[in-house]
Amino acid sequence: MNRKQRKNLLRIIAAAALMIGLNFVEVAGAERFALYMVPYLIVGYDILIKAARGIKNLQALDENFLMAVATIGAIVLAVYSGSGDYTEAVAVMLFYQIGEWFQSYAIGRSRQNISALMDIRPDYANIENLGRLEQVDPSEIETGTTIIIQPGEKVPLDGVVVDGNSTLNTSALTGESLPRNVAVGDEVLSGCINLNGVLKVRTTKLFEESTASKILDLVENASSRKSRSENFITKFARIYTPVVVGSAVALAVIPSLVTGDFATWLYRALIFLVISCPCALVISIPLTFFAGLGGASRAGILIKGSNFLETLSKVKTVVMDKTGTLTRGIFEVDAVHPISTNCISENPTEARQILHYSAHVEKYSTHPIATSIRKAYPAENDGCTVENVEELAGLGIRAEVNGNVIHVGNEKLMEKIGAAWKPCDRLGTIIHVAVNGAYAGHVIVADKLKPRAKKSVEELYRAGVNRIVMLTGDLKKVAAKVAGDLGIGEYYAELLPAQKVERLESILSEKSFAVAFVGDGINDAPVLARADIGIAMGALGADAAIEAADVVLMDDDPLKISRAIEIAKKTLAIVRENIYFAIGVKVLCLALGAVGIANMWFAIFADVGVMVLAVLNALRALSA
C-alpha cells in the first residue's frame, strides 16, 4: 500500500463508520442534511473536485462526472421530496471509492510482481582505483574498462571475463533459472547476477548498448502499439458516455412530461447514470493486455505491443527456420566410426582412441569443427606430447602425437597420403583420421536438434497451429531428415535468404489466418519483418533480431513459441470475457433501472461488482 492508498482506505473506513453511526441518530431537517454531508464529503470530495475540473477543461463526460451528478441528484431529490434519505448518495460514493481503491491496490501488487522480475537495471559498476573499489555510474564507463563484479551483484555492462570464475544466474534475462558457469575468456551479459566468485570483466559495450539496457528499452516501450480491442474501448468510451448521459436526460424528461411524476423519473435517470459508468471496461481491457505482456515477459517472452499479442493469438501457420531454431546451430560430434565397425555399430575403445588423437591434433585450431571435437573429448590435458602441428590449407591438419603421425581432415587429405578412406552415409561433416598413414576411421560432426525441438512441434499443434513449414538454406537431405525426425510435413531446402522471403510471401498470400515466422535473427531479419508476427529466438546477443522481430524469446528454447501463443490466446480470451460480461451486466441493469425494478443500491453494487470481477479476471493474464 502506498501513501495515497492508505489515505483513501482511511477515508473509506471513516465514512463507513460515520454512516453506520448516523443510523442511530434521530435528527431531521437542516441538521440531518449537515450531518450526512460529513461522510459524503469525506469520501467523495476528490470526485467532486475532479468532476468540476473536468467541466472546466471540457473533459466533462467521465466517470467522475457520472458519480457526481448521480449523488448530487440523489441528495437534491432527498431534500426536494422531504424524505431526508441521504444514505443512498453516501453509499454510492462509498462503494465507488471502494471499487477504485481495490483496483488501485490490485494493480499496485501486480506491478510490483512484474517490476521485481524485470529488475535488471544495474545501478553501479565497481572499478578499481588505487587498490580500492569505487562505485561508478555504469553509463560513464567506456568500452575496454576493467570492472569488478562481486558475488551477489548484477553484471552492469556486457564484457569478457579477464580474471576469476563464477556462476551466473541468467533468470532475469531468459526466464530460466539455469545457472551458467563462466571463466576467463567467456562473455558475460549485463543483467545477469553473479552468484559466487569475484569476476574481473573487460567491458565490450557501452551501457546504452549493453543487453540490460536494450531489454529494458524493449519492455518499457512494449505498450506503444495498441491492440484493436484497446482502440475499440477508447472509441467505445468516447461515444458511450455522451449517449448514456443523453439517454438519462431523456429518461428524466420525456416520461415525466407524460405522467407528470418528475421525481420518480429523475431518480430512475440517476440510477441509469450510476449503472452505465463504463469503469469495468475502460479499466479492465488495457489492464488485461498489460498483465498479458507482463506475464509473457516473466516467462522470458518479450512482446513488443498489445497488437502483437492479438495477432499472436490468431496464428494458425508457423514457418520456422531450421538452423538455430530447431537445431542448435552449433556443430557437435554426432558419431565416431572406427574402420573396424564399417559405419554401423561403434566400438567404444577404438572410437575413444580416434577422438583422442583428433582432439590433440586440433588442439590449436579455432575452427568450429575443431572446437566440437575438443568438446567431445574433454580429457585433453593428459600429458601426451603433441608436436610439429602443421595446418594443410583446404585439407586438414597433420601432427605428431606421442610420436605417431596423425592426419585429420577431408577425403582429399586421405587421398593425398594414400590412406584407404571409406565413405559414410550419415548426415553431417565427415572428418577422416589416419594414424601413421593408415586409415583409422572417421568422426561425424553435425548440427544437432535442440533437445526440446520435437516436443515444441507437438505443443504447437496442440496450441491450435495447423500448419508448420520449415525453411532452410541447408541441403535437401539434411532438411528431410530434420523434418522427418520432428514430424514436420512441409519443408523447403537450399534456400537463399531472399528465397526465404519469397517462400514466406507465397505462404502469406494463400492464408487468411496469421502467419508467424520463427528464426534466430541470423540472416533472416527480412523474413522476420515480413511475417504477420516475427518471432526471434535467443535474443541474447543478436541485435538485428531484436530490431526486426515483434516477439523476442530470451533464450533458445523452441517450446517458448507455443507458450507465447498460449499466453496470447489466454489474454485475448480474458479480454473477450470481460467485454461480454461487463456489457451484458450493464445492459441488463440499465433495462431493470429504466423500468424501475432496480434501485440505486442495486446500481452501485452492479457497477462496483462488475469492475472488481473484471479486474480480478484481468489479472489472471499475469500468470497465463
Partner: protein, 72 residues
Amino acid sequence: MRKNYKIDVDCANCANKMEVAANDTAGVKNAVVNFMTLKMQVEFEDGADAKEVMGRVRENCKRVESDCEIFI
C-alpha cells in the same frame, strides 16, 4: 532526442489519456506511456527544449486526468 520520465497515475485508461495528451503537445514527436512500469518515454522534435516541452506535457496531462503526475 529521447528521454524517460517517471509518472504516477492510477488507472490504465488514464494512462492512455495521458499518452494522447502528451502526443498532442507541441514539441513532442512521439510519446509512449507504459502503465505497468509507470514510465513515459518522450521523443522530442529536433531543437525542442525538453524542460519547457515537458512543462506543457504535464499541463496537458493534468487537463485530461487531474490525478496524474510526471516527475520532470
